[in-house]
């Protein structure tokens, strides 16, 4: 087994099998999920990228210098360590300009039933069935709380809400946290209180969602999101488009829901920066 990269946020300890999909074998330790993924899934703060997924893997152990997948020992080579920190020294003006373009891309490329409708009400038409319309109403209610500045009620309304293994609301909240952290660590805005308020009420749906949220709370993002943030910070339009496409391709609506939260948070911070 060949270890291509490993995330920088994987604590040492014993992990047991949680779930296995075509693109990931998830191991849990308490409420933390660490995933064994193939190269196409990409690096992440809690990902071990291996050349080929071992279908029967049952146990994972992380020690100071090695990972053990069952009885396979994988050395933690320093050069294979994925640094998942959000980029620093970003120019707010450039990011703001990129955000407008990213919103357009999100609206154009997001799959139906994602939270991208918050940037274009025309996307609400995708919610057709009774269940979906009720879901839409709840999404709108949750987002309206955020727009009114009430993070607490917004998170409570959106957490665990929606379609997918990681419910859309959870992905949106992860995106929000990543956005606020990018604003704080990358552009020196004081968003710490908002981050704490959001994270305090978030989580609890399932360990996979919770692990993603925890990473976002700590300012740790996967390689697709990192590429997107770098492109936002001054990449070309073509690079931004390529990065957006890659980020949107995560899960079914997960990528779009995350990006919606990210764009929402950054727009809020950058538009209110004079206040």
């Amino acid at each position: 087994m060949e270890l291509i990269s490993y995330g920088d946020s994987i604590p040492e300890g014993e992990y047991s099998l949680h779930s296995a999909f075509a693109n990931a074998i998830n191991f849990s330790r308490g409420s933390l999920i660490v995933s064994l993924v193939p190269p196409r899934a990409g690096a992440g703060p809690l990902n071990l990228v291996v050349a080929q997924l071992p279908p029967g893997a049952k146990k994972l152990r992380s020690t100071r210098f090695y990972f053990y997948v069952d009885e396979n020992r994988l050395r933690k080579e320093p050069e294979a360590r994925y640094d998942s920190a959000v980029p620093e020294n970003a120019d707010p003006d450039k990011v703001l300009a990129g955000l407008d373009a990213l919103k357009d891309m999100l609206v154009r490329w997001a799959p139906p039933l994602s939270l991208a409708f918050i940037f274009d009400p025309a996307l609400e038409k995708g919610f057709t069935r009774t269940f979906e319309r009720h879901l839409l109403a709840s999404f709108k209610k949750g987002v309206s709380h955020f727009r009114a500045g009430d993070c607490e009620r917004g998170v409570k309304a959106l957490r665990g809400l929606g379609l997918g293994l990681t419910p859309s609301g959870d992905d949106f909240i992860s995106g929000l946290l990543a956005g606020y952290n990018f604003a704080r660590l990358g552009m020196r805005f004081d968003t710490a209180a908002r981050i704490e308020r959001v994270y305090f009420h978030a989580g609890g749906s399932n360990p996979i969602s919770d692990s993603f949220m925890r990473c976002s709370y700590e300012g740790r993002v996967n390689a697709k999101v990192l590429r997107l943030l770098k492109a936002l910070s001054g990449g070309s339009r073509a690079e931004l488009a390529a990065a957006a496409k890659a980020a949107l391709a995560s899960g079914h609506t997960s990528g779009a829901d995350f990006c919606s939260g990210l764009v929402f948070a950054l727009t809020e911070v950058l538009h209110n920066r004079g206040e």
């Binding site: 693109n23 029967g56 039933l113 419910p167 609506t253």
Partner: protein, 517 residues
């Protein structure tokens, strides 16, 4: 009408969930549906949509809720069936391989640059030339096809040997290479035990037992059953031994085979002597009398071989293997007493197997307990059944033999013929014990419980004194999930044992104890 299904603790990736939701919403007779994780917030939406049932209300955050509002019960059932089919669908393989099918070998190589193994499953007469072409292109070959002439096999294996390549097969149904299960194989843990086997089901059984005992497999190389015959001279088996001996990830080597020709056995053992790693060998129905080397261990059954390999792999004393078997024997003895006590008298045993090697293993274990045992695939020709469809006395049959498989899928996939036989044998008053194998893993029947349980239920109705004993060859990470299958079989009244050998011992003990009445 509103119907719901809860899949407890079931995690499916988002794409699968959305596919299911999309499919349900387009089905005729389905008015509304929800396919969501049963979080408190989602339950609120389900309630607001009028889809809430007590089952959904009771479900937790980690449970998947499928709720359907349908015009008729049949439409709801159809929706759940469709959902199950989509959720149980095997995941798509390698992102590099698109939906496009290769137009030929060259095209396939272009599509998957760097591929070094070809799996060939075409009619036997076409398989030889195709395998030769693959060898020319420096690819190892797994020949799933059967009916390949012996001289073609020999030519292919010699050509491969010259180039340092492997030809696994013909008629090779199982291999695990670099952790990838190929054809009929199980999702086993990776580890330090390398297997080379001239038997598909034998390879599955040992790799599963090793994995379930907490050890793992480095590589599992299939050779095809004819490899150990005099004409072929174990070319692939010996190549496999050399490869495992040179493989740094392999610390213990396990050989699985039916008894080779005497001259071939000598060649194999000569190769074993050169290996500086412990070697375990099981030749079902055969015996190794020579003292090969100090760290060579012969085993009589697949179970014994697997557990010995586990002990060596984990650095435990080899005697610990007996302790593991002893524990299952204790369980078997208790069950046998109980079963024998509820019968007037135990008479005949019938083994209906989908795996050929299990039939051989049964013939190694059962005669000591029940006496004469007949088979359509006997280890000793004098015990050949006159007619495989008219069983008499104690008998074990291999339903994977050509006489049963012409024009129908292998019995590991299609249970229909065995199901018929389960019921017809149960009807016979002289039959006291049915012995079965249920093989899980990739390639095998994905819904074994659904397919076999009705036949088992009917068998018990027809024969109130019947005992049904089974082994389940599989792991928790197999698509069918071993524990679920075991639980389902036990709920249906089947006595499930951890290995085929243990199941044989239990079945034999029931007959032995019951026949004393």
């Amino acid at each position: 009408m509103i119907k719901t299904v809860i899949k407890k603790g079931a995690y499916f990736d988002s794409v699968s969930l959305m596919q299911v939701a999309k499919r349900l919403n387009t089905m005729e007779g389905v008015l509304d549906s929800a396919v969501v994780m049963a979080t408190r917030e989602n339950k609120g939406i389900i309630k607001a949509s009028g889809l809430l049932t007590p089952e959904v209300e009771a479900a937790g955050d980690s449970d998947l809720a499928i709720a359907v509002s349908a015009k008729t019960p049949a439409a709801a059932e159809a929706a759940f069936k469709a959902a199950d089919e989509l959720l149980n669908k095997k995941p798509a393989q390698s992102a590099g391989a698109s939906d496009r099918k290769a137009a030929g070998l060259d095209d396939a190589i272009k599509m998957l640059d760097g591929a070094n193994l070809a799996v060939i499953s075409v009619a036997g007469r076409f398989a030889g030339p195709l395998a030769a072409e693959c060898l020319e292109k420096n690819m190892n070959v797994m020949l799933f096809s059967d009916n390949v002439p012996l001289e073609t096999e020999l030519a292919l294996k010699k050509a491969a040997q010259k180039k340092g390549l492997l030809v696994m097969g013909p008629d090779c149904g199982t291999a695990i290479i670099n952790g990838a299960p190929i054809a009929f194989a199980n999702a086993v843990s990776r580890g330090n035990i390398g297997v080379v086997a001239a038997s598909g089901t034998g390879l599955q059984e040992v790799t599963v037992l090793i994995s379930n005992e907490g050890a793992g497999i480095s590589q599992a190389i299939g050779t095809g059953g004819r490899d150990v015959k005099l004409d072929i001279g174990a070319i692939t088996l010996i190549q496999g031994l050399k490869m495992l001996a040179a493989d740094p990830a392999t610390e213990v080597i396990l050989i699985v085979s039916k008894p080779p020709h005497e001259a071939v056995l000598k060649k194999i053992l000569a190769e074993v002597k050169k290996i500086k790693k412990p070697v375990v060998a099981v030749l079902l129905g055969g015996e190794i009398k020579d003292k090969v080397k100090p760290d060579f261990y012969a085993a009589k059954t697949l179970e014994e071989a697997a557990y010995k390999a586990v002990c060596l792999g984990k650095g435990r004393e080899i005697a610990k293997a007996r302790e593991i078997i002893y524990d299952t024997n204790l369980k078997a003895a208790e069950l046998a007493k109980k079963e024998a006590a509820r019968k007037k008298k135990s008479r005949c045993l019938r083994g209906l197997f989908s795996g050929g090697t299990f039939v051989s293993e049964a013939q190694v274990i059962l005669p000591e307990l029940v006496g004469e045992l007949r088979s359509n695939a006997p280890l000793d020709k004098k015990y050949k059944l006159a007619n495989s469809l008219e069983l008499s006395g104690h008998a074990v049959i291999d339903l994977g033999e050509d006489e049963f498989t012409v024009g129908r899928p292998h019995p590991m996939i299609d249970f229909s013929l065995r199901n018929k036989m389960i019921v017809s044998e149960a009807r016979k008053p002289e039959v006291s014990v049915l012995l079965l194998d249920v093989v899980l893993g990739y390639g095998a029947n994905l819904k074994p419980l659904e397919d076999i349980t009705p036949a088992i239920t009917e068998a018990f109705i027809r024969n109130r004194e019947l005992s049904i004993v089974a082994s389940v060859t599989g792991t928790e990470t197999d698509p069918q999930v071993r524990s679920k299958v075991v639980k389902g079989l036990e709920a249906a009244g089947v006595l499930v044992m951890p290995s085929n050998a243990a199941a044989c011992r239990l079945a034999g003990a029931i007959i032995k104890l019951g026949s004393r009445k």
